[in-house]
Symmetry: C2
Subunit: 346 residues, 2 copies
């Protein structure tokens, strides 16, 4: 019989609330014969303040034994900027080699967008997750003096770029429109830019059916607000991907509905799924958070583990729920979770 | 008697067309007693193909003697990506220490925006122009092999950050709302991020009237489309500034109206003014380009040289022209220039 052994990391702020609903929907959608086991891990600000630890080797060993990880949100204003981000989130992405950071953007019917007109938005960003300016390379000399110099080194390898570019081509190939855009800044960041562009062009030869284009990251932000329908699949560097996926989330319904997967396609380490939004401490504990992004992250998780039908049921339930929201009073976090659980079970 | 000795660089694509109109409006707005001298320089793709040169030491010496530089656009698909950008545009910014890259965003009445509703947009981005990932530091090993590694080094100095941050505070102080936002990614790029944040907080003490906030660059893209009225002055790093000013231009009327100044506040070297749009080779030579961004760049140039009244007249003429466009047939580049010249003279 089948089973899913899930690591659950509620984390900080609204993390606990949204994860509870994500698990509710997951339980509701799974067939009877699939055994769901969950183990909760206490990471984030609480643990950091209590022990000074963010993510230990023992933690990594424990997480490694799961089939996948569901994360709520990590981050709290009481912790200095960068400590949990570098010490937990990025450490985990690097340790588990989550090189495919998958972020779909789809404007569902009935969902509000800041854009005028009725834009058609349905694309997915494949963001590289283990290289670029995120490596933590760099340093500071003469810190705190008027002669301080601080550097950040973006590290890009043919190995790292090729695997994520190939993943993106395969995803483009599998979609009806079969379009792939490379986003970079190869006219200024010429070393990394040429590597990305050359690898992209080389891999393109293996996918003759995929239509490709190249776009500078600055121009891409313009297209994302003026012609978002232009995009099908996007592949890009870690930092550019961070920036454009927040913009993409904003135009396609907001970060309340933006899901993401930190994927290790080889399966050597468990992949991690999380809403794009952060811990939102200002609304934590009030039942105000929208669990939809977490529920959609659960769909990505199911799809990754091979439960395509169940993932599709969640996507449909979310579509239906969102399309009926206009004009109705706001619901609490758990009310939305309940409604989605009913829909996926029904 | 007063005089302006201007270097004019039409450049590639639509550059020549828009610069012609910029100069037309400049001549029309200047009082009789101001002597305008212009010298045209042939930089860009033509020169590169003919001589292999982009910008020589002799060119820099010649440009240095002018009071300011007006540039149309540089860039052509016939030149490999990066050659003219690094070899001309960035070389000039670095050689003339254009560390304040000024990019105002104002949504003028009657101007179309991709955003829904009627957003109030009136802010200015102060983008650092001589550091960050733009320095050209970095390199490639094992080029073209499967073991290639390419790096890009972002270089940030207390000296470089402090002067641009102080400039931004002074601009915020001089505006009615007196707000300044620092945009960075200090939770991931912790070396550079901490330098920027610490310098920002230190300089803030000298400007107690200015209200400050910090924002990650990814979150900033969300606010730019959901709450653009939130911004008054923004200060940011070279690369983040590149990205968010294109987005800012898109939401506040498009790059057809986005002006910029590459400013050396000390006056040691001439400052350079240019539209944010590029050379648009697809519409070059057809009289289709909108010269408004260039005309607004001329206003920035005049303001920089102390001609505040004339700069304001251009701004007003552009506002009036834009507000009367809706529903009218499209005009040619020179028709728009003529109309603006009439207005500023009137
Ligand atoms: C919190 C931060 C480290 C993270 C990132 O920059 O990747 C977040 O912005 C994201 O997009 O998942
Ligand atoms: C053409 C390129 C070098 C330039 C930049 O990245 O600064 C342009 O995008 C700009 O914003 O002026």
């Amino acid at each position: 019989s089948r089973s899913i052994n899930l690591a659950v990391i509620p984390g900080d702020g609204i993390g606990q609330e949204v994860v509870t609903e994500g698990l509710k929907v997951l339980s509701a959608v799974l067939p009877q014969d699939v055994k769901l086991e969950t183990e909760e891990y206490d990471f984030g600000a609480r643990r950091y303040h209590a022990t000074g630890e963010t993510l230990t080797d023992a933690d990594l060993d424990a997480l490694k034994r799961h089939d996948a990880i569901l994360l709520g949100a990590i981050g709290d204003p009481s912790v200095p900027s960068g400590v949990l981000e570098r010490g937990f989130l990025l450490k985990l992405r690097f340790a588990f080699d989550h090189h495919v950071n998958l972020r779909p953007s789809k404007l569902l019917p009935g969902v509000a967008t800041p854009l005028a007109g009725e834009p058609q938005i349905d694309f997915v960003v494949v963001r590289e997750g283990t290289e670029g300016p995120y490596t933590g390379n760099g340093g500071t000399i003469r810190k705190g003096t008027e002669h301080e110099v601080a550097t950040e080194v973006s590290v890009n390898t043919a190995y790292g770029v090729e695997r994520v570019v190939r993943d993106a081509f395969a995803r483009a190939q599998a979609r009806p429109r079969k379009k792939l855009a490379l986003i970079h800044k190869n006219n200024v960041l010429t070393f990394a830019g040429h590597l990305w562009t050359n690898v992209f062009n080389k891999v393109a030869e293996e996918f003759p059916e995929v239509t490709t284009e190249y776009m500078h990251v600055d121009a891409a932000t313009i297209y994302l607000v003026t012609q978002p329908e232009r995009f099908d699949v996007i592949v890009t560097d870690n930092l550019f991907g961070d920036i454009i996926t927040d913009l993409a989330a904003a135009v396609s319904g907001g970060i309340g509905v933006a899901a993401s997967g930190n994927i290790n396609p080889s399966g050597e380490f468990p992949s991690m799924f999380e809403p794009v939004h952060g811990s939102a401490p200002d609304i934590a504990g009030q039942g105000k958070a929208d669990p939809t992004a977490t529920v959609l992250s659960v769909a990505l998780l199911l799809r990754h583990l091979g439960y395509e039908a169940e993932a599709a049921r969640i996507d449909e339930a979310v579509s239906a729920d969102l399309s009926e929201r206009t004009g109705k009073p706001a619901r609490s976090t758990s009310e939305i979770g309940d409604a989605l659980a009913v829909r996926v079970a029904g």
